[in-house]
């Protein structure tokens, strides 16, 4: 018999379930503004990750059912489906999921042992390999009738490329390319794809992520450190540049509500396995991501930088953790000892 004799009933699968629950507001906003294509992607991704997880567990001679039931693979699948363009061809989603589960997760030792965020590895590989597909995003419903379920199937599983006008570059992408054409921001954001806070429609999805993230914080699934540090640093640095030249640098609010900033801050960077763990370490980790996101968006070659920023900071986690160990009870007044590394 093991002591303590009793324990809290919360398990890993409860945590993962709550994460998926927290994704629902954003998902509903997504469906409302961009149609049901994303649901097709989520189902496709879920089936792929579960199959990949089961096969890998079997190959690694691990008990399949208990691990499959922990829900971690499903969360990876959902995050990927929400990150990829909703009209991405089926094989793109499948390959991204396979890469995430097989390479990023299981080849590193399975849940708890992976160095890099699996969903972001899958996303980054697709972004580098198939950039053309990765920049085709649905236009919001108000501009063009969103594809229904049947059309979504044809788009995802058919071989024909999506009709022009149905998809477009993301607002972030648009702002970036048009700034290069010497248009001022004031002129750019007058275009119909821009909304009040960020991109039309997508800003509501971002609000959904914010809402879900606050739920996770309230449920003590995540702590405030990483989201606050990431969004704070992104806001601060983009605000600084915006104040210097508001015509060439987009506003800090736009930065927070476009792209994957909210999704990244609350759902990606907060992945416990690959993120920093100490309170100070989480602040450094989050702030580092925020800074990198801004610089990649503003000066880099890619429209959004959340995936790369998260992956780069994932690599720094062992270093960050080792140097930010909090003092142990009773050691606070002692002479400062070297950090354990």
């Amino acid at each position: 018999m093991r002591l303590p004799l009793f324990r809290q009933t919360i398990s890993v699968n409860v945590i993962m379930l709550k994460v998926m629950l927290a994704l629902l507001p954003a998902l509903f906003a997504y469906i409302y503004y961009f149609g049901p294509a994303v649901v097709v992607q989520i189902v496709l991704a879920s089936l792929t990750v579960l199959a990949a997880e089961a096969v890998m567990l079997k190959l690694r001679r691990q008990p399949v059912l208990p691990f499959l039931a922990d829900g971690s693979a499903l969360v990876t699948g959902w995050l990927l489906a929400l990150s990829l363009p909703a009209t991405a061809p089926w094989w793109l989603t499948v390959v991204a999921c396979l890469f995430a589960i097989v390479v990023a997760k299981h080849l590193y030792g399975g849940i708890g042992n992976n160095l890099l965020n699996p969903a972001m590895v899958g996303y980054a590989v697709m972004l580098i390999s198939f950039p053309a597909y990765m920049t085709q995003w649905l236009t919001p419903d108000s501009l063009h009738a969103a594809p229904g379920l049947g059309e979504s199937f044809r788009l995802i599983f058919g071989s024909s490329p999506p009709l022009d006008g149905l998809t477009m570059a993301t607002p972030l992408d648009t702002a970036k390319t048009q700034l290069k054409l010497d248009l001022t921001l004031g002129e750019i954001v007058k275009q119909p794809i821009f909304g009040l806070l960020g991109g039309k429609g997508s800003e509501m999805v971002a609000l959904g992520y914010l809402f879900g993230g606050l739920f996770l914080w309230q449920q003590r699934i995540i702590t405030w450190h990483i989201p606050a540090a990431m969004l704070g640093s992104l806001f601060a640095v983009s605000g600084l540049f915006w104040m210097i030249d508001a015509d060439r640098y987009v506003s800090p609010v736009f930065h927070l509500f476009t792209g994957a900033a909210m999704l990244g801050a609350f759902f990606i960077a907060t992945d416990p396995v690959t993120g920093a763990t100490t309170p100070r370490g989480k602040l450094i980790f989050g702030a580092g991501i925020g800074l990198l996101v801004f610089f990649i968006r503003t000066f880099g070659g890619y429209p959004d930088g959340v995936a790369f920023a998260v992956l780069l900071l994932n690599l720094c986690v062992p270093l960050i953790d080792a140097h930010t160990q909090p003092p142990v009870f009773g050691h606070k007044n002692a002479h400062k000892k070297g950090s354990p590394d």
Partner: protein, 554 residues
């Protein structure tokens, strides 16, 4: 209102106090036999003072303290000593330990005992008496109390803390004691105050015990010395001495040090009560209050003599229900499994829990750690438990030490919150014992190496000395040859000397023969024969050993 500090983390497990704290403390019928372990405290076990067949009286000292950190053990009732030897005791190892087994004669006849006039005595004499009365801390650590009653020359005790927090679920023995015997507890505290001269006395009680708080406050209002009863928030492990010190004073006992280093001394309420009985009544520590709870018919608190078999307690509690699988000594968070219900009550046993699968479902299988950090949020020692686990699992023990494994108090909070159900504390215990074992090995290796080096040095030195002696002898022989003419005189002297030496050797041999072991005299002839043979062999070996090592041919 006193401003209370907080400690990091802690958990809120279900309390389960009401099962056992509704009834008054009950007495027990005298058990037939008492199994009194001689090691019931931290430090050296007591040395047995009685032998089999001897009649002992209630309160008679049967185990004498050995060394400084130790305490006396007494006969809990009058009766006959039927065995002094190893018997099973409640200990995580499950090993047997030295016990005095007493068959009660039912008369419960007291040994002479009288109150201590401690105010008229020298404080060190008072402490010695307290040691001889077997008073040890009843909060769990069973540290001999007389040591803690020494104010020390360097550090003055500013705050005397009396721990009535009782933070573990199920346990209610201190709760009932405070409700029923608050005045006696305060009398004990008065003695502690007299010994330590603190500037303040604080009694910390978790706020889930309003009746105990009220009783203690009422009693505290009637005493002449200043004492404050403080309700502290209910959070496990708020009753840990270091955690309670932090909550009440805002100060943190330094790691590896004692609370006295920051001018704080902590005693349990039950210790104060026992001190009162020891000093004011002269009664040694013969019994303690034990909570019996869990899967029993009538949970409650029982005043049990030390050495009472646990099954005797269970019978008093109406017996354990049929589906009882195991028994736990202590609380459900930090207790230890009892290998059998026949084990005796000791001074450390505050609670016995009968456990069944229905009451305490076994943990789901452990899954990999996802570094969620819940354990770090719950850890009252402010450690990073998942890092300790990671390094302990990969047998990277140096790292576990860097991450402070020896600051872990094994409270089980991390286990309690872990969503992957990893038996974390087991990993820490494993790492700790491995580190201890390695240190022992290292010490042994160091000793062996030092010995070897010294032996090499000694052999070398002896060889050198022998060479010098030989050289001197050779030189001496040369000088002796010269005065050969006066030889007769010298020759005679030499002969006389030799005779004297031989006579002395003879005497020594005779003496040695006389002091040969005499217990062989009354043996049968064949045994004598055998001994003679062995002696002969020994003599031969001695002879061989006396030959110079060089003659063996190298």
């Amino acid at each position: 209102m006193r401003k209370l500090a907080k400690f990091n983390g802690g958990v809120h497990p279900p309390q389960h106090k009401s099962e056992s704290n509704q009834q008054a403390i009950a007495g027990l019928p005298l058990p037939e036999r008492l199994f009194v372990p001689l090691r019931q405290h931290i430090g050296n076990p007591a040395k047995p003072l009685v032998s089999v067949g001897e009649r002992v009286l209630k309160g008679q000292i049967i185990g004498q303290p050995e060394g400084y950190v130790s305490a006396a053990i007494h006969a809990p009732t009058s009766g006959k000593v039927i065995a002094v030897g190893p018997a099973p005791v409640p200990h995580p190892s499950g090993l047997a330990d030295l016990c005095v087994i007493i068959e009660a004669d039912g008369q419960d006849e007291w040994f002479t005992h009288e109150p201590l006039r401690y105010r008229e005595m020298d404080p060190s004499a008072v402490r010695n008496r307290i040691r001889d009365l077997g008073v040890v801390g009843l909060g769990g650590a069973v540290f001999p109390s007389f040591i803690k009653l020494n104010p020390g020359a360097r550090q003055k005790t500013q705050t005397l803390i009396i721990n009535g927090a009782e933070c573990e679920p199920y346990i209610t023995c201190d709760d009932r004691l405070m409700r029923e015997r608050a005045e006696d507890i305060l009398r004990g505290i008065e003695i502690m105050g007299y010994m330590l001269h603190p500037t303040e006395v604080l009694i910390g009680i978790e706020d889930n015990k309003p009746e105990a708080i009220a009783a203690m406050q009422a009693a505290a209002a009637r005493v002449t010395f200043p004492v404050e009863v403080v309700a502290v928030p209910t959070v496990y492990p708020g009753g840990g001495a270091k955690q309670l010190t932090r909550v009440l004073t805002g100060k943190e006992p330094p790691a590896g040090g004692r609370s006295t280093d920051i001018g704080v001394q902590v005693f349990n309420v039950a210790t104060a009560y026992s001190l009162h009985r020891a000093v004011h009544l002269g009664e040694p520590m013969l019994s303690r209050i034990v909570t019996v709870s869990g899967n029993v018919e009538r949970p409650g608190n029982y005043e049990a003599l030390i050495g009472t078999p646990v099954e005797h307690l269970l019978t008093a509690a109406g017996g354990a229900k049929a589906d009882t699988a195991r028994y736990i000594m202590g609380g459900p968070m930090m207790g230890i499994p009892l290998t059998s219900p026949g084990l005796p009550v000791t001074k450390a046993m505050n609670c016995v829990i009968a456990a069944s699968e229905a009451l305490f479902p076994s943990a789901p299988p452990a899954m990999p750690c996802i570094r969620c950090g819940r354990c770090a949020q719950a850890c009252p020692a402010e450690l990073q438990p998942f890092e300790l686990y990671w390094h302990a699992k990969s047998r990277n023990f140096g790292k576990t030490q860097e991450y402070g494994i020896f600051d872990c108090i094994e409270c089980g909070c991390c286990d309690y919150v872990c969503p992957s159900h990893i038996p974390l504390v087991d990993y820490y215990r494993f790492a700790k014992s491995e580190i201890w074992a390695r240190e022992q090995e290292k010490t042994a290796a160091d000793t062996a190496r030092n010995r070897h080096e010294f032996r090499t040095f000694r052999l070398e030195r002896e060889k050198q000395e022998r060479a010098e002696r030989l050289a001197q002898k050779a030189a001496g022989a040369k000088t002796a040859e010269a005065p050969a003419e006066t030889g007769s005189d010298a020759e005679a002297e030499k002969a006389a000397k030799k005779a004297a030496i031989e006579a002395a050797l003879e005497r020594a041999k005779a003496k040695k023969a006389q002091v040969q072991p005499q217990n062989t005299d009354n043996l049968p002839p064949e045994k004598q024969q055998e001994i003679a043979e062995i002696e002969a062999r020994r003599a031969k070996i001695r002879e061989m050993a006396q030959q110079p090592p060089d003659s063996t041919g190298n």
